[in-house]
């Protein structure tokens, strides 16, 4: 089941990206980057968490709905797309309520930063909807006496990342998969485009907006990456109230934040790959993204094989 979900996520991401950006190449890069994220390999083949795997499969479709809520710079926002988004979000609460909770938090802040204010009520309603769909989970969180999830209260900070773990591509330490080759190069590309565009203030307003949007996504990914680190913040948060201990114990590891960070990074990463492919008319510029994605695939196959062998 999990390998099928792992495989199905790639076309799901491709279709979602295509419907949003109407660009085959960008969609292909984006789908491969998202689909071959080492974090997803970890979820599907190491952690073997069906709920999380389903969440990561549905996420591109939710992204599609969210993007369609704001179709164009000139067109008005469409509330209609919030209905499937809400249904999917509430549905996914059944699979992994904690992931939904984190996702809604991220969506809330992204809505504020990107000035897409419809995301704010949507995230709040999704959380409330999840209460209705999955009341048992909330009973556990609030009252703490219904341990049907077999989750023990624990301090999760020690499971967090160090900087070196982010850079891993082939192998990874327990529960800490890295960025992989695709996202590593993408990061360098994003930085390159950001720096090379920085001195061009007379760019058209649309492009400037697009750049700023990408920058917000990258910064947000960096913040999520930071939260996934081996930091005392988690311990301090868990001390606030017993509810927080149960809530954070449910996350199990700060690495979930890294998963979200990688997923967010895939959007500007795909755009950077697409731009490199189109702008630089040289063999090497074209060969680089293809090579990198092939290497990413090789690393993922290696990871899957070694995980299976173990």
């Amino acid at each position: 089941m999990l390998p099928i979900i792992f495989a199905l996520t790639i076309p799901a991401a491709g279709v979602a990206l295509y419907f949003v950006y109407k660009d085959k190449l960008l969609s292909l890069f984006g789908a491969l980057l998202y689909g071959l994220m080492p974090y997803r390999v970890y979820v599907c083949f190491d952690l073997k968490d069906l709920g999380q795997a389903l969440f990561w499969m549905v996420l591109p479709i939710i992204f599609l709905c969210l993007a369609k809520m704001y179709p164009d710079e000139k067109k008005k926002s469409s509330l209609l797309w919030s209905i499937p988004a809400l249904i999917l979000l509430c549905g996914i609460a059944k699979a992994d309520c904690m992931l939904l909770f984190i996702f809604c938090g991220i969506l809330f802040f992204l809505g504020l930063l990107l000035k897409r204010f419809l995301y704010l009520p949507l995230s709040v309603v999704a959380v409330l909807g999840s209460v209705a769909v999955n009341s048992a989970f909330w009973k556990f969180i609030l009252l703490g006496h219904m341990n049907q999830y077999a989750v023990e209260s624990e301090l999760i900070a020690s499971k967090g990342y160090s900087v070196g773990h982010f850079l891993m591509s082939w192998l990874y330490y327990e529960g800490r998969p890295g960025l992989g080759f695709g996202l590593l190069l993408a990061l360098a590309l994003i930085l390159w485009y950001f720096l090379s565009d920085y001195e061009k203030p007379d760019k058209c307003p649309y492009e400037k907006k697009e750049r700023n949007r990408n920058l917000i996504l990258v910064i947000f990914s960096a913040i999520l990456g930071f939260l996934s680190m081996h930091l005392g913040i988690w311990d301090i948060a868990e001390r606030v109230h017993p509810i927080f201990i149960r809530l954070i114990s449910f996350i199990n590891s700060p690495s979930v934040m890294f998963g979200f960070g990688c997923a967010l990074l895939c959007i500007p990463a795909a755009k950077s790959y697409g731009r490199l492919w189109k702008e630089k008319n040289t063999f090497i510029a074209k060969a680089m993204p293809v090579t990198l994605l092939l290497l990413n695939l090789t690393a993922v196959i290696y990871q899957i094989c070694t995980l299976r062998a173990n």
């Binding site: 900070a157 900087v163 070196g164 590593l184 390159w192 081996h230 090497i284 060969a287």
Partner: protein
């Protein structure tokens, strides 16, 4: 303008915070003493015997002292602290072993959050002798605040650099090439330094020895000892002549971090990252200069500094000295490249001695063994280029480089040779060590990275079966074939191709030298000099470090040649293949070694006090592995030692000799020739080697008074030091003047 304001705001905020830290440092520190008395009997073996619970302490870095009645036997007892209430990463403590011959154990506690639930516990091994403890005290230090100051200064530097960087970009003062350089070199550094970024220390074979050196340098700086000849920290503060034979200069920066309060692993890892960056930068700079192409510079840096041997040396072998010395190999190569390719009549030719002397100085000051191998390569190079060596100006530059190298390093070379020639040190007696069996077999060069299970016993050296990228080997062959076919004859710029050709030959020589087929054992048996040189090499695969550089230059030559010939699609194909091979081999190997090699968390060195690797720099015959601390100096029969104090490489004892005959006092210091002993009137007493190679002072008959023992550098060493210091000042002035002239 906006940026300048931002810089001012950042500077003011950080300045205020630094001032706050300084004010806190000025406030006297507190001590927290706990009178705990307890006894562990021989039946109490337990892995967690509580000693004291519910200790309240504010945040800070503490020196912890655990007192007990003197113990005479080795105790299988370990003291440590624990606290479950402090946030993760906010409580750093290694604890300490209880050693025989001591009455207290000292270690460091870094506490980044106040606590009320700290507890001390003992791990008591099976059949531990009875043990009675008497107290536990925590002495607050200023280190927490000095750590904050260093971090704030770092933050300030980074912030100002970033603001200035964007300010310059906006003003169009930074070219796209420079931006690309920053991105690529930073990325290479991050990938190449993965093992220093995992929040632990790679615990390679010699790692602990280098960490002890680092701690010793910190101790020496604290005590104002410069230059360091004997390392005071280990074994058990007996003083070891590491600094005499293995230059410690490169450890000054991490030692300063240690003194500021950074944990051992943070100090070492920051040092490792800086070394990796320096190595990448030097290779890039040199390759860019030789080939005149930025991309080829990147390729050279990736090939040389992400090489598997580099990871092996750092992670598996813990060879920090070799890691530092590798920064300087490219500089040496560049010096010789200029020496043999530049026009002797050009104005810049008379400055060629500078990179050569800097290169040798760097290698010498980081790893003497690498210096030996570099000298070997120099001889081979000079023999190869013999017609050019005897050109008047080239010859002069060579002598200038040699002269500069000698005077700049006289402070180290002279004492080194003095002890090596005149003293009977263990390193002089390891000539029996044969090395051929440590060589590689050729199949080590042609393996896929993943097929670990199919490795034969012969292919496994140091548990490693692959240390070189076979794709690079193939590219070397391609270069050679194209050379034989005359493809490089049509090139306009032949200078870089000359060095590439030479490096291709040296690559082949390096491969041969690293193999088991090379008759190292035969050379070893030829004469005593060869015997010493060969056995000093330890492993033939050390030559792979040089192979990495030579092959990187050759491959870069191949690409540069193809670049110049132009018009061929396979130029790109080769680039892609090389790129993939680096990722397949180097990055896999880097991750694999960091994954497989054990790592450890080490906050201070209280647990590691006597690791001496081969103990090469002790007096021959010293049984260094049995050394344990002494509480007091030991007198011969009839000699009473009434008080005793010791600090690093210095000891003082009050001695009464009521006999009519001379007696002696043995001090807990490893004997080296230049220990001197004085009485109260500064009269020198005879200081000799005891039977166990400790410092023994002859006490005259009917003597009562203090005896002080110190290590005093001879005047000849001091003279050499002065010559070197003056040379360094003149050297710096000369370089600055030349830079100004060039502008």
């Amino acid at each position: 303008m906006k940026s300048n304001k931002l810089k001012l705001i950042v500077s003011i905020i950080i300045g205020i915070l630094i001032c706050a830290c300084i004010i806190r440092i000025l406030i006297p520190n507190k001590s927290y003493d706990f009178n705990i008395n307890g006894e562990i009997s021989s039946d109490d073996s337990s892995f967690h015997t509580s000693v004291c619970e519910g200790i309240s302490l504010p945040a800070g870095i503490y020196k912890v002292t655990f007192n007990y009645l003197p113990v005479t036997d080795d105790m299988p007892i370990f003291i440590n602290l624990e606290d479950g209430s402090v946030f993760s990463g906010g409580f750093l403590c290694d604890g300490s072993n209880i050693y025989s011959g001591t009455d207290k154990a000292e270690f460091t506690l870094s506490l980044y959050e106040s606590t009320e639930a700290l507890s001390a516990y003992l791990d008591v091994g099976v059949q531990a002798p009875p043990f009675q403890y008497t107290g536990l005290s925590f002495h607050e230090t200023n280190m927490l605040w000095s750590v904050y100051i260093v971090n704030l200064l770092f933050l300030w530097g980074i912030s100002i650099a970033i603001i200035t960087f964007f300010q310059k970009i906006k003003a169009g003062k930074i070219s796209n090439d420079r931006k690309l350089e920053i991105i690529v070199l930073s990325a290479l550094t991050l990938i190449g330094a993965i093992y220093f970024l995992l929040g632990k220390i790679p615990s390679g074979a010699d790692q602990y020895y280098h960490l002890e050196r680092l701690e010793s340098v910190a101790y020496s700086i604290r005590d104002g000892v410069f230059p360091i000849r004997l390392e005071p920290y280990f074994p058990f503060n007996y003083g070891y002549a590491g600094g005499l034979f293995y230059c410690d200069i490169s450890f000054y920066f991490p030692a300063l971090l240690r003194l500021a309060g950074f944990s051992m692993q943070s100090s070492f890892n920051i040092f490792g990252i800086i070394c990796t960056f320096a190595g990448i930068l030097s290779t890039y700079y040199v390759a860019k200069k030789i080939f005149g192409n930025m991309y080829i510079g990147f390729l050279a840096a990736a090939l040389n500094n992400l090489a598997m041997y580099y990871a092996f040396d750092t992670v598996v072998r813990g060879g920090t000295g070799a890691l530092v010395s590798s920064i300087f190999f490219p500089i040496l190569l560049y010096g010789y490249y200029r020496l043999f390719t530049e026009d002797t009549e050009s104005a810049s030719y008379k400055n060629i001695w500078i990179p050569i002397s800097i290169g040798y100085t760097g290698v010498m000051c980081s790893h003497v063994l690498s210096m030996e191998i570099s000298a070997l390569w120099t001889v081979i190079l000079l023999l190869t280029m013999i017609p050019k060596v005897f050109r008047k100006k080239t010859f002069i530059e060579l002598w200038k480089a040699l002269g500069a190298f000698i005077v700049l390093n006289l402070w180290f070379i002279f004492p080194f040779l003095d002890y090596y020639i005149n003293e009977d040190i263990i390193i002089k007696n390891v000539s029996a060590r044969k090395i051929q069996e440590w060589g590689f077999v050729f199949s080590n060069y042609v393996r896929l990275p993943f097929n670990i299970s199919q490795v034969s016993e012969k292919e496994t050296v140091h548990n490693v079966y692959l240390l070189f990228n076979p794709v690079v080997l193939v590219l070397l062959v391609v270069f050679l074939v194209l050379w034989i076919c005359g493809a490089w004859k049509t090139l306009k710029n032949k200078n870089y191709m000359k060095v590439a050709k030479l490096c291709c030959i040296y690559s082949i020589i390096s491969i041969v030298l690293s193999l088991q087929i090379f008759p190292w054992d035969y050379l070893h048996s030829l004469n005593p000099i060869f015997e010493k040189i060969v056995s000093a090499l330890q492993f033939p695969h050390r030559f792979i470090a040089y192979l990495d550089l030579f092959s990187a230059v050759t491959v870069c030559g191949l690409f540069a040649g193809l670049w110049e010939i132009n018009g061929k699609i396979w130029r790109y194909v080769l680039a892609v293949i090389t790129f993939i091979s680096i990722i397949l081999y180097s990055l896999f190997f880097i991750e694999f070694t960091t994954f497989e090699t054990s790592t450890t968390k080490l906050y201070d060195m209280s647990l590691i006090r006597a690791y001496l690797a081969g103990a090469e720099y002790a007096n021959y015959g010293t049984s260094v592995y049995t050394i344990r601390p002494w509480i007091c100096a030991k007198g011969s029969d009839g000699i009473e030692v009434t008080s005793y104090e010791s600090s690093d490489l210095r000891a003082e004892a009050s001695v009464i000799n009521s006999n009519d005959e001379d007696g002696y006092v043995d001090f807990p210091l490893l004997h080296y020739r230049d220990y001197r002993a004085f009485d109260d009137n500064h009269t020198e007493l005879s200081c000799i080697k005891s039977d166990e190679f400790y410092v023994r002072v002859i006490v005259p008959s009917c003597y009562a008074g203090n005896i002080t023992v110190r290590f005093i550098s001879p005047w000849t060493w001091r003279t050499c030091e002065v010559i070197s210091y003056i040379s360094w000042i003149l050297f710096a002035i000369y370089i600055i003047r030349k830079k100004k002239e060039a502008k």
